[in-house]
């Protein structure tokens, strides 16, 4: 594990990625305790204020402290994105691995259907689902998860197929191992690594997707401090105070870049060749 972390930190991507993500996680864990102000308290007299000692990043259209809102919002934003990705990945991984293991017509059928689903752009798909379920953070989460599942299924399958051909799987079959053991102990451990990489990178996509849903009025609900929502609300006020738009955007950018870099780092670190 330690040795693995070393490998991870050796690449510049890995190093920067870990740092940024760690930064974000701090906000997620300690955000509420660190926040200097009540993120929802209105102050009519302190609207559109620039950065000051009282309000480090200034205040928004309700005179709320942007810095506090960012800290609080980290939970809503990041955990949601991570969670949605994990759910989507799990669904995808199960379907993909199963499909690969079954093979033959079943595999064909599953994959064609997945292709079909994937022909609907994931944003559009998410849009439809949220409209269906009604706009709320949880529903957005479900939507993103569902939108992600097919892609992940596809990737998992291709990886699983490669593993499936390996001789140690053949050996297991020849040994007369049960399917469950083969899938769980022989295949899955070797499938997971690339999946984790893909997952990490997709977290940033999830953040984007959430933000975009909020922009289309279908994501988190005001006055939630979800970053995407903050940005999309801010667009209306950006001409009165640029900070309202810039800070949450920057926060999102950090998450996105962080997870992307981390993903690339992981890819190298998990790659046997390096």
């Amino acid at each position: 594990m330690i040795e693995f972390l070393k490998r991870l930190l050796r690449t510049p991507q890995g190093a920067i990625g870990v740092t940024l993500v760690a930064l974000v996680l701090v906000a997620v864990v300690l955000g509420p305790t660190l926040a200097p102000h009540d993120p929802e308290a209105l102050s009519p007299l302190a609207r559109y204020k620039g950065p000051s000692t009282a309000f480090w990043l200034g205040t928004d259209q309700y005179g709320r402290d942007i810095f506090s809102r960012l800290l609080i919002g980290a939970r809503a934003t990041v955990t949601m994105a991570v969670f949605a990705t994990i759910v989507g990945t799990l669904i995808g991984a199960i379907v993909g691995t199963a499909s690969a293991f079954m093979g033959g017509r079943a595999d064909e059928f599953i994959m064609r259907t997945i292709d079909a689903v994937m022909s609907i752009p994931s944003l559009l798909f998410a849009l439809l689902i949220v409209n269906l379920l009604g706009s709320s953070t949880i529903n957005a989460l479900v939507a993103v998860a569902i939108a992600f599942a097919p892609g992940m299924a596809r990737i998992t399958r291709s990886v699983a197929l490669a593993v499936r051909k390996q001789d140690y799987v053949n050996a297991a079959i020849a040994r007369g191992e049960g399917s469950s053991y083969i899938v769980m102990r022989e295949m899955l451990p070797n499938v997971i690594a690339p999946i984790v990489v893909e997952m990490t990178i997709r977290v940033s996509f999830a953040v984007m997707l959430f933000a975009t849903l909020s922009f289309l009025g279908l994501g988190a609900q005001p006055p939630a401090a979800e970053w995407g929502l903050m940005v999309s609300e801010a667009r209306r006020y950006m001409h009165l105070s640029a900070g309202i738009l810039i800070w949450p955007s920057a926060a999102i950018a950090i998450v996105a870049v962080g997870f992307n870099l981390l993903g690339d780092g992981l890819r190298d670190a998990l790659n046997p060749r390096t």
């Binding site: 390996q166 001789d167 140690y168 040994r175 007369g176 191992e177 451990p189």
Partner: protein, 543 residues
């Protein structure tokens, strides 16, 4: 070029090469000195990692960024290559010194026609126009013995056979009549018969052009009949160097001796002659056929019948208690397919009788059968799960077939049985060497005290010396448990050493089965004889 054709064309003097790596400096070549005169072939023999390829790259001046040349020089016709500018080097490559690679299927660009890949070197170095180069190229293809050069020029690599491709590569190497050519295992990737033909071609062209040749190979036997002089390299150092005769008859170094001893020699039989053919064979394979592939969509749609790929065509054979049955054949002859069928990895038609019990398919292969029939694969790194410790890998068969009592004890014993330290149980496969890994695989196979072990090319990925020791181990285990082997290989010499009987397969058909000692008798099938002719006569006969 001066007139000093007497002197060495290629002259490597006290050459040393290091690689800077994350965990310290690695000495790839230490004080190497060798010369090749015009018209001479120097065989460079060494096992994997001995540095023979590094030497090739240093001669071609194609070294990775972390390489450091710590001493010595490399002279081509007296000119120090180290002094040359990169553009000079580029002008030299392919013109004055060229190279033939191991695997033609990877050394040719899959998306360019063979012709363009051959002619580009002529355009580059002999300043021909594309047109001239093309026709010149045809001529050369004819010269390397390709039947339809004009057509071959237009083919894409995937449209040509391995042999044809390698001929094109050789043609390219000879294209500009270089002074020196480096052959890096030029036949290893090819089938027995093809490689024989390629070898003949090489010898012929070499004699004709008198090019100074450095012939790199791991195969002593092969080198013994191509090269005039041999240099043995080990861990970056030249062990010894001399004429083929000296080296093979009176080797001075122990390592050389071991190497020579390790080379399989049909005359040194390692098993007692015949096993008594008892009334009922252990396994009887009856008309087993294997087909691949599904009906393609259109065929399924139109109901048009279509020819499925055939792996095995009605193969029948039997193995007796404690017998070693060798199966030989070129790639695609269906040896492994049979093995897969017998272990339930391939669906098959026909019957397999085991211990008098009929097996018609996967469903019949119960625990008993699984326990009694084990398989060992070619590549140990592929057959051992990289994410499981040796201990876990070895524990599986124990858990599956009976006594899982005091596992650690048993696993330890298994490891010792295959000459591995008990401590290896806690290691991961990638922490072991190739030979060690294969030993683990063997240990796993024998854990269940099987009656039949199918060995699918299990030594072909290993170095000669390692191969020898593995074979040694296998034979001991065989004697100990009177286990029967189905030993699949393409190495005739090896199989002739250890098998009781040898089955020859070709394109999915079983050609014939013959006792090992009578495999070379003149009344064998034609294909069998061609195979035997193709393998170089074993070492020593040169002397």
């Amino acid at each position: 070029m001066t007139d000093n054709t007497k002197n060495a064309v290629l002259d490597v003097r006290n050459y040393s090469l290091d690689y800077k790596t994350a965990n310290g400096t690695f000495h790839a070549l230490k004080d190497i000195s060798l010369e090749i005169a015009r018209g001479e072939i120097l065989g460079l023999v060494g096992e994997s990692g001995s540095g023979k390829t590094s030497l090739a790259w240093s001669i071609m001046r194609y070294l990775p960024g972390n390489a450091r040349e710590t001493s010595g020089k490399i002279l081509l016709s007296g000119e120090d290559l180290a002094q040359k500018s990169s553009s000079e080097i580029e002008n030299m490559r392919g013109k004055r010194i060229s190279m033939v690679f191991q695997d033609p299927s990877t050394s040719l660009n899959p998306t360019l026609s063979l012709g363009s890949q051959l002619s580009e070197v002529l355009v580059r170095h002999r300043g021909l126009t594309r047109k001239q180069a093309w026709s010149e190229g045809e001529a050369m293809l004819a010269r390397v013995g390709l039947k339809t050069p004009a057509a071959m020029m237009h083919r894409m690599p995937h449209e040509a056979s391995g042999g044809e491709k390698q001929r094109v590569v050789i043609a390219t190497a000879f294209a500009c009549n270089p002074e020196c050519i480096i052959f890096d295992e030029p036949t290893t990737a090819l089938d027995v018969i093809t490689s024989r033909q390629i070898l003949d071609l090489f010898v012929e062209l070499q004699a004709e052009t008198g090019v100074a040749s450095l012939y790199i190979s791991h195969d002593l036997a092969l080198v013994s009949r191509t090269a005039g002089r041999v240099a043995v390299i080990r861990r970056g150092e030249l062990v010894e160097q001399g004429s083929v005769g000296e080296i093979f008859t009176t080797p001075r170094q122990d390592y050389t001796r071991e190497l020579i001893a390790a080379v399989p020699d049909p005359r040194r039989r390692l098993v007692a002659g015949q096993v008594p053919t008892d009334a009922q064979p252990l396994v009887r394979v009856e008309d087993v056929s294997v087909h691949y592939g599904r009906k393609p969509f259109l065929a399924a749609l139109t109901g048009r019948k279509h020819e499925r790929v055939t792996g095995n065509r009605a193969v029948s054979l039997s193995v007796n208690q404690g017998e070693i049955l060798g199966i030989v054949g070129e790639s695609g002859s269906g040896k492994s397919t049979l093995a897969k069928a017998m272990t339930g990895l391939n669906p098959f038609e026909g019957k397999i009788w085991f211990d008098g019990r009929p097996i018609t398919g996967l469903k019949d292969m119960n625990t008993v059968y699984r326990k009694d029939v084990q398989i060992i694969f070619q590549h140990p790194d592929a057959s051992l799960n990289p994410r499981q410790r040796i201990g876990e890998i070895l524990s599986r068969p124990l858990k599956l077939y009976g006594d899982a009592a005091n596992l650690d004890q048993q696993i330890g014993d298994m490891l010792e049985q295959v000459r591995l330290p008990r401590t290896h149980a806690s290691r991961y496969p990638h922490q072991l060497s190739g030979g060690e890994k294969q030993r683990v695989a063997i240990a796993r196979a024998f854990a269940s005290r099987p009656k039949l072990v199918i060995c699918d090319e299990i030594t072909s990925a290993l170095d000669v010396s390692v191969q020898a020791s593995i074979v040694q181990l296998l034979l001991e285990l065989q004697k100990a448990g009177n286990t029967a082997y189905l030993f699949i290989t393409h190495d005739l010499n090896l199989i002739r050493q250890i098998a009781h009987r040898i089955a020859v397969m070709y394109r999915g058909d079983l050609i014939e089965i013959a006792p090992a000692d009578q495999i070379d008798s003149p009344q064998r099938a034609d294909y069998t004889r061609r195979l035997l002719d193709a393998v170089p006569p074993p070492v020593g006969s040169a002397a």
